[in-house]
Structure formats: structure tokens, C-alpha cells
């Protein structure tokens, strides 16, 4: 009898708690109405002076004639503009605090093949970079393990699983959009001439040796995929006693089944062609990262329907005789060829430059609306999270920014920031230091 009584009390407490949660969910802090702004939904034409309702973390309604729920916090955004929050789909955010201090860096694991490691495990929710980055309008990102800073070379071949998350939350569990959105592969290059940062000098090796190394790597990687396929078949038969559990192969099952995309970093045309050939043969769902020379293999990318996440549009051409603006025109050229594109910073501290990269591509021919999609919706589609983020539509997570103008422009300020439907502060370490030292009394001389 005693046990039953305890159960009843417990049930009663649970009911009360549920009710309490329900009550708190209806308080003013979880419902917002943004009024008077021009709303760029990116799912249709802009809504002039419309109303946007946010409730329980989601976008509840957008339109000209929308009822404001009782208790909603009303934000007068007259003269302002609303956009989906910006999305940086290749970063080391949370994995990298101070690049030169190795104790603060968790980007690349040792070993050539690390499919079982997951970025989300090491993302530090308290990273200083998170509030700094979101103050520039970036509301969600993907952290990619094994992707060292853009042009400094990289770790192993299979870097691990990339994780998508919102740039606000007390824990990574709260921040996660999707723990595993892609398997990252650093495509091996046939490299005969490399710069060695430890000795600060160039090192050469004969082409035949470089090619042999490359072939060996590709064979290994192909073999790994084949084994993962066999492992998947064995697992399906459900006889675990017959084989030992293998975490690496287990992690590759969704890859070989085409459920988890591979994010393949390759720049040179030859490397891109090789990567596409490999992924086609292995039946993998490929997203190209970097694509410096993607313009040379446009037809192939188009034919195979491979989207491209471009590195910073602001970089120098790969070759001395390339047109000086080649990196800036790349986005518009690929877009014109019908290849889906997105921009990424490939960095940590430079994540806040994402809109600048997109804006620069517009200056060199990319349509403005496409540039906006290339920092919001496009990458969300590539990684299969467009049901949650990427546009302003009812039912999606309310990651959005209210600005005083074009978010791709250099001087535009983010006035209000919503992440997971919460009005989120744009305060950050940089602004704190600014305020602190602005207030320093005049120095005595």
C-alpha cells in the first residue's frame, strides 16, 4: 500500500510540474510579436510591415494580418528588416579558442581515419567565440572536425562527423540542431611540392612517389567503405555474437547507405574529379567543400548534382596567371551553371566575416537574393536541416535577425537576435572590453 501511495504522490508532483512548465511556456518571454518590419522570408517575396509571431521557440506565423497572442512581447521593428539567421556551415567554432595555444584547440584528432568522432562532443558552449560571432548575425553553424584553418593543410583523411548547432544555449544538448550532419573527408591530393611550417621551407618529392601514396590512400578508403557495407549487412542479420563491434565501421554505415552526406574538401580540379569519381563509385552523397577550381569541373558537378560550399570569396587566385578576381567570381559562375552554392568561413575568428564573403560575391556578379540564400537556406538544404532552419516560415525554429539594413553590408547592425525563439543578447567579450576601456579615465602623463 505504501508503494502505491508514493506512486500517487509522485504522479501528483509530476502533474503539477508539467502544469508549471506549461504556465511558464505561456509567459511573455516565450512569445514575441515583431511588428512593422520588412520581412525577408526567403520563401517568397518580402512581407512589408508584416507581423512575425514567435511562440515556444518556433515561428508561429508570418504575414500582414496575424493575430498577436495575449502576453506576447511586442517588438516594434518599424523601419527595420527581418532575415533568417545566418548560417556558417563549415567552422571550427567551439573547437578552437586561441589557434596558437594547442591546449585550447580540439579540431583534429590523430590518425588518418576517424569516422567515429563527433564534433559536438568537444564543442565548448562557453566559448568566447560564440557570442562574438552571433553578434554579427550568425545564429547557427556547423563545426567540422579535422578541418584545420582553411589554407594551412589538414589532419587525417576522414576527420569525423560534423555537428550543426545554434549559437546559444547552456549545454551542447540544448544547442544541437543535429549531432551528425555529415562525414568530413579531406580529399588527399597528389602533392609534390609542400610548404613545411616547422622548418619554414619547401619540400619536394617525385611525382611517382606522390602518386603511389595517393593510390594507397584511395585504396584504403575504398576498402574501408566496402568493409562498412559488409559490416552493415552483418549487423542487419542481427547476430552480434559472430563479430566484434567496430565503432569506426559502425559510424560509416549511414555514409555507405547514402543517409549521411560526405563533406569532401577539395580545391584543385583533379582532386575534385577524383573525389566525385570515388563518391559516385561508392554511391555516397557528396557535398564539395572549398572548390577553388570548381569552375573547371562545372559540368561534372552539375551532372552529378553535387552542391558546393565555397571557401572565402576573399582570397588570392591559385595560379599566378589566373584572373585576379577569379575567387570573387567563382560563386556567380557556379550559380549561373545551376550548381547549388553556400558560403562558409572555414574558420573560427573569421566566422563573423561570412556576410562580407557573400557581399563580395554579389559585387562580382552573384544575384543578391541568391547570396542571401547562400548564407541561410542553401546549406540547410545540403545538410538536410531545412525543415528546421533556413527560411522564415511557420513551424521552423525561430533563428532570425532584425537588422537596420542589408545583412551583407559592412555597416549593418543587428538590432535584435532570436535564437531558438529566444531574444538573445548581442553582448560579447569585444563589446565588454570596448565599454570598459572607453571608460578609462584620461591617463596621467
Amino acid at each position: 500500500m505504501r508503494i502505491r501511495r508514493i506512486a500517487v504522490v509522485a504522479l501528483a508532483i509530476a502533474v503539477v510540474m508539467t502544469f508549471a512548465l506549461a504556465v511558464s511556456a505561456q509567459t511573455a518571454t516565450t512569445a514575441y510579436a515583431i511588428k512593422g518590419a520588412r520581412i525577408y522570408t526567403l520563401a517568397g517575396p518580402p512581407v512589408e510591415g508584416g507581423i512575425l509571431i514567435i511562440r515556444d521557440g518556433k515561428i508561429a506565423a508570418v504575414g500582414g494580418n496575424v493575430e498577436i497572442p495575449a502576453g506576447a512581447q511586442i517588438i516594434d521593428a518599424t523601419g527595420l528588416e527581418v532575415y533568417p539567421g545566418l548560417f556558417d556551415p563549415i567552422t571550427q567554432l567551439g573547437l578552437n579558442e586561441v589557434s596558437a595555444v594547442s591546449a585550447t584547440v580540439d579540431i583534429s584528432e590523430l590518425g588518418d581515419y576517424d569516422p567515429e568522432i563527433v564534433a559536438a562532443t568537444a564543442v565548448n558552449p562557453a566559448s568566447t567565440h560564440i557570442p562574438v560571432t552571433r553578434a554579427s548575425g550568425i545564429t547557427h553553424v556547423i563545426a567540422v572536425p579535422g578541418s584545420n584553418t582553411f589554407d594551412l593543410g589538414t589532419g587525417g583523411m576522414i576527420g569525423g562527423q560534423a555537428s550543426a548547432f545554434h549559437l546559444a544555449g547552456w549545454t551542447m544538448e540544448e544547442m544541437e540542431i543535429k549531432r551528425s550532419v555529415a562525414m568530413f573527408i579531406n580529399w588527399p591530393s597528389i602533392t609534390t611540392h609542400t610548404f613545411d611550417f616547422t622548418t619554414f621551407s619547401f619540400k619536394d618529392k617525385p611525382y611517382a612517389d606522390a602518386k603511389k601514396e595517393y593510390d594507397k590512400t584511395i585504396n584504403e578508403m575504398g576498402d574501408l567503405m566496402d568493409r562498412a557495407r559488409h559490416y552493415a549487412q552483418a549487423s542487419e542479420k542481427g547476430s552480434p555474437a559472430q563479430f566484434e563491434r567496430d565503432l569506426k565501421l559502425e559510424a560509416l554505415i549511414p555514409v555507405v547507405e547514402g543517409k549521411l552526406p560526405v563533406l569532401v574538401a577539395a580545391g584543385r580540379a583533379r582532386d575534385i574529379r577524383n573525389a566525385v569519381e570515388f563518391c559516385t563509385k561508392q554511391n555516397l552523397k557528396m557535398i564539395l567543400a572549398d572548390g577553388t577550381e570548381a569552375w573547371k569541373v562545372k559540368d561534372l558537378l552539375k551532372e552529378k548534382k553535387i552542391p558546393v560550399i565555397l571557401g572565402p570569396s576573399q582570397r588570392l587566385p591559385g595560379e599566378e596567371d589566373d584572373p585576379y578576381d577569379r575567387p570573387m567570381t567563382l560563386a556567380s559562375e557556379l550559380h549561373a551553371a545551376g550548381i547549388p552554392i553556400a558560403f562558409a568561413s572555414f574558420g573560427t575568428a573569421f566566422s563573423r566575416r561570412l556576410p562580407q564573403y557573400a557581399g563580395t560575391a554579389v559585387a562580382y556578379g552573384l544575384p543578391h537574393e541568391e547570396a542571401l540564400k547562400a548564407v541561410t537556406l542553401n546549406a540547410a538544404q545540403m545538410f538536410g536541416i531545412a525543415d528546421q532552419v533556413g527560411t522564415i516560415e511557420a513551424g521552423k525554429v525561430a533563428d532570425l535577425i532584425v537588422t537596420n539594413g542589408d545583412p551583407l553590408e559592412l555597416q549593418t547592425q543587428v538590432r535584435y537576435l532570436f535564437i531558438k525563439g529566444q531574444l538573445t543578447s548581442t553582448d560579447n567579450r569585444h563589446r565588454d572590453l570596448y565599454e570598459q576601456y572607453k571608460g578609462r579615465p584620461a591617463a596621467a602623463h
Binding site: 568566447t128 582553411f150 589554407d151 611540392h193 619554414f200 596567371d321 553590408e409 547592425q413 563589446r431 570596448y434
Partner: protein, 478 residues
């Protein structure tokens, strides 16, 4: 070996863009533009008359003289050429001399490379003048030089005539080699702390002071008619430091933390020299009053941070905050790529810290000119100044602005339309060279097949050397 070398020569000689574009200076009228003068406001529908490489007139009612070339810049913006106060372009080889802590004998002016394609790329980004600095591996680094980006001219025609020579100093993590382990078997170099950095500089100036005295004594005694005097032994490391103490050479000091900035100001006071610019100076905002009082300028990045520990307190408000406290501030690149959009980097100081449009543009025009002591010649659109100008298709403080033409000394060194028109020729020429190479290789192969006993080993063809790009964290220079 002969052919690859020849090919490399041809590639450098002709395939690089628009080398012969600049012509003899004539009379040019740029008309219908929005002119951002920097010193006296913006002029709508304005014109600039250029004669003999100089700005001859600026106004709204200028007529093209007979024989003048007219550039119609309707709807476009003209501003002074961008001055990059921290650059490492046009240098043949590395900028660092890693072994000695004092490398003041190393001379950047001796290793200028006019064929560096980054000159052209930066020119295409509106840069007309750059302060070419030695690296930051040493507390006292090498000698520096200010150049104009006269693409196509020889090395001897690059230096900015009459500009003050400089010397690079460096404080903090780079000279103490925090992030650069020596190769195996090589001992660590002194200094390894900020205390040691100070001592290396003090020691060098103590020696330089003694050296100066020796020469002073010698000169005096010689002037007094003393016979059979032995002159002091010349010391090429100390001579530039004597020039620093005599105010004949500017000190451009790489630095990050507030404490090391104050350290150098103390040392400068002790030895009676001035620091001309603090470079990077990412914590300059913490000691802006002290920098302003010393008369030194601050040349910083727009928004780089966290690439190393001493860059962790870097804030994008630095330029604005130092400006508000009276420091002459510039925004520099330290990087061939970053230099191509310094106008954008300047614009960020409006967002972070609220500078006015003109004050933002000053960060990459007049202010660096002041810092380099060349503001009587460049940095604003004023009559009598050099016609170093950039024409943009939009307001240069917008991300959508693209440089259309860059002029130095009244000559068009970059023209976007001509660059684009020239591309087909470059492509054709490249293809012709590749075809020629292929044919020659085939012929060689055939002749080898005919004479298989040929003993000479075929040389391995080397790919062109490529510099490591330095975007992101890379350069030791930073």
C-alpha cells in the same frame, strides 16, 4: 633543364596582366564623379584635372584642356589611392631572419621583386602605396621601405622617392619565439620572455650610442686636423640604430599587448628616439592616451583576433577607440589578400565604434600617409598632391564597391575593363606555350627512343614555386 626555365621566364614576362598599361604621364580629366577628397568633403559631379602626374585642379566646373584624356566616371566614386602601412608584397624570398635577435643589417630595399604578381592584385584592390616591412622574428628586425605599386616598372623605380627609411621592431610572442619551435638540434634563441625582448633592444641601443660617440669623436678630431687617425670599424647593424636616434629612420614596431607598448615607449625615452608607428597594436585601445601622448601612430587590423594568445583581447573597436583618444590610426593588411579590400576593412570601424565615413576612409588614406611622413605627397585629393587615385563603381565603404581604375602619378596602372578584355589573349598565349611544351616533350621522347644509349639522365621538371598563402593564422610576420 633549359626549356622549363625558359618557360618560367616567359610566364613571368608576359602572362601576368597588363604590364605595359601605364603610359607616359599626360593630361587627364576625370569627370562626373563623386569625389571623396578626405580633407574637404565630398564633391558631387566633380572633376579632377591631372597634369604631369599631379592633381592640378579639383572642382565641379573643370573643362578638359586640348589633348587631355577624359575619363568619364559618371555614377562612380573617386578616392585617394589606398596606403597599406604594413605589407610584405614585392619581397624576393622570406621576410624573416630567424637566427639573430638583432637583424638591423638586413635590408628589404635590396630584395624588392617588381615581378611579384601580388603587386598587381593589390593594385586591383585600389592600393597605390605600401610600407614594405621586414618580419617579426627579431626584437630589432630589418630595414624597411615605402613603395609605390608601379607594376611593370623595375625594382629601382618602386621606392617612394624621398620617403623616410624605416626599421622593423617586434615585441611579444614572435620575437620570443613562443609559437615557433626551433628545428631538432637547434638551441632556443634568446630572448624567450618579454623581459628579454626589452633587454635585447636596450643592449642594442647602448652599443649604438657608444658607436655613435666613437664616430662623433673621430669626426671631431679629424675636423680639428688630427693626422693618422683610424676611423672606427663600420657596423652595419648599429648604423640604422644611430639613424633612429638621429631621427633619420622611422621605427615601425610590431606589438600586441598594452604592457609591451609601454615598455617600448620607456626604452625610446631612455635612448632619445621616437616610435613612429605601433604595428598591429591590438591592445592599443587599452593605452591609447599613452600612445597619443608619445606622438606615435597606431596601425592595426580591422577584426582579426584569437589567432594567438596575445591577440585574444583584440577588438574590432580598436581603430575607433584609438582615434577617439587622439591617436593617428591606420588599418593595414599584413597580407597580400587582405590588402585587396582595405576599403571594406575601414568601413567596419563605422559599425564597430561609430567612426564617420570620412574618418573611416582616413584609416586607409590620409592617416597612413601621415604615419609614413608622406602626407605632403599623397593621402587626399588636393591640388599639388600626386595623382594616386582609385575609381570605384560604388561607395568604397560598401561591400559592393569594385575598383575600376587605379592611378599612380597620374598614370592608369590598373583598368578593370582592360584586364577583362586582355584575358582571352592570356589564355591563348598560355595554351600556345603548353602546346609547344607538349610538342617539344614528344619530340624529345621520340629522339630518345631512337638513341636509347643516351646516358644523360633526364632532369625532373620542377613545378613553379608557390608561396604559402598567409590568410588566416599563417605568417610568422603577423
Amino acid at each position: 633543364m633549359r626549356r622549363p626555365l625558359l618557360l618560367a621566364g616567359i610566364l613571368i614576362g608576359t602572362l601576368v596582366p597588363n604590364r605595359a598599361l601605364a603610359q607616359a604621364p599626360g593630361t587627364i580629366l576625370i569627370q562626373n564623379a563623386t569625389i571623396l577628397t578626405i580633407t574637404h568633403g565630398n564633391i558631387e559631379h566633380g572633376s579632377i584635372l591631372i597634369r604631369d602626374g599631379k592633381i592640378a585642379a579639383v572642382g565641379t566646373d573643370l573643362k578638359a584642356p586640348d589633348g587631355a584624356t577624359v575619363i568619364d566616371a559618371g555614377g562612380q566614386f573617386v578616392m585617394p589611392g589606398i596606403i597599406d602601412c604594413h605589407s610584405h608584397i614585392a619581397v624576393d624570398g622570406s621576410v624573416n631572419e630567424g637566427a639573430p635577435a638583432v637583424s638591423s643589417m638586413a635590408r628589404i630595399p635590396d630584395v624588392l621583386n617588381p615581378d611579384d604578381v601580388d603587386i598587381y592584385r593589390d593594385l586591383a584592390g585600389g592600393v597605390t602605396v605600401a610600407n614594405i616591412l621586414h618580419g617579426s622574428a627579431n626584437p630589432i628586425g630589418g630595414q624597411t621601405v615605402v613603395i609605390k605599386l608601379r607594376w611593370g616598372k623595375s625594382a629601382s623605380e618602386l621606392p617612394f622617392e624621398g620617403s623616410m627609411p624605416g626599421i622593423k621592431f617586434a615585441l611579444g610572442e614572435n620575437p620570443k619565439r613562443s609559437n615557433f619551435a626551433p628545428p631538432p638540434g637547434v638551441p632556443q634563441r634568446y630572448p624567450a620572455t618579454r623581459m628579454g625582448v626589452e633587454e635585447v633592444i636596450r643592449q642594442a641601443f647602448t652599443e649604438a650610442r657608444e658607436y655613435k660617440k666613437q664616430w662623433g669623436d673621430y669626426t671631431q678630431r679629424k675636423a680639428a686636423g688630427e693626422q693618422n687617425l683610424m676611423p672606427p670599424r663600420r657596423n652595419e647593424a648599429l648604423e640604422p640604430l644611430v639613424e633612429v636616434m638621429e631621427g633619420k629612420r622611422y621605427v615601425h614596431s610590431h606589438c600586441y599587448r598594452a604592457d609591451e607598448i609601454l615598455m617600448l615607449l620607456r626604452v625610446a625615452k631612455e635612448f632619445g628616439f621616437k616610435v613612429r608607428t605601433f604595428q598591429h597594436v591590438l591592445e592599443g585601445y587599452k593605452v591609447a592616451d599613452e600612445i597619443a601622448a608619445s606622438g606615435a601612430g597606431g596601425s592595426t587590423f580591422s577584426d582579426w583576433w584569437a589567432y594567438k594568445m596575445e591577440a585574444f583581447d583584440a577588438i574590432p573597436y580598436n581603430a575607433a577607440l584609438m582615434t577617439d583618444r587622439g591617436v593617428v590610426v591606420s588599418i593595414n593588411s599584413d597580407d597580400a589578400e587582405e590588402a585587396t579590400h582595405l576599403n571594406q576593412e575601414a568601413a567596419k570601424s563605422m559599425k564597430f565604434g561609430g567612426l564617420s565615413a570620412t574618418d573611416a576612409l582616413k584609416l586607409v588614406t590620409l592617416n597612413p600617409a601621415i604615419q609614413l611622413g608622406i602626407d605632403n605627397r599623397v593621402g587626399s585629393i588636393d591640388v599639388g598632391k600626386d595623382a594616386d587615385l582609385v575609381i570605384y563603381n560604388h561607395d568604397p565603404l560598401s561591400v559592393y564597391a569594385v575598383p575600376q581604375k587605379t592611378l599612380i602619378d597620374g598614370q592608369v596602372y590598373f583598368d578593370r575593363a582592360r584586364d577583362i578584355a586582355h584575358r582571352a589573349d592570356v589564355e591563348k598565349e598560355k595554351q600556345a606555350l603548353i602546346d609547344k611544351e607538349k610538342k617539344a616533350a614528344e619530340a624529345e621522347k621520340k629522339s630518345e627512343e631512337k638513341s636509347p644509349d643516351k646516358s644523360e639522365a633526364k632532369p625532373e621538371k620542377k613545378p613553379a614555386k608557390k608561396k604559402p598563402t598567409t590568410s588566416g593564422v599563417a605568417g610568422d610576420a603577423r
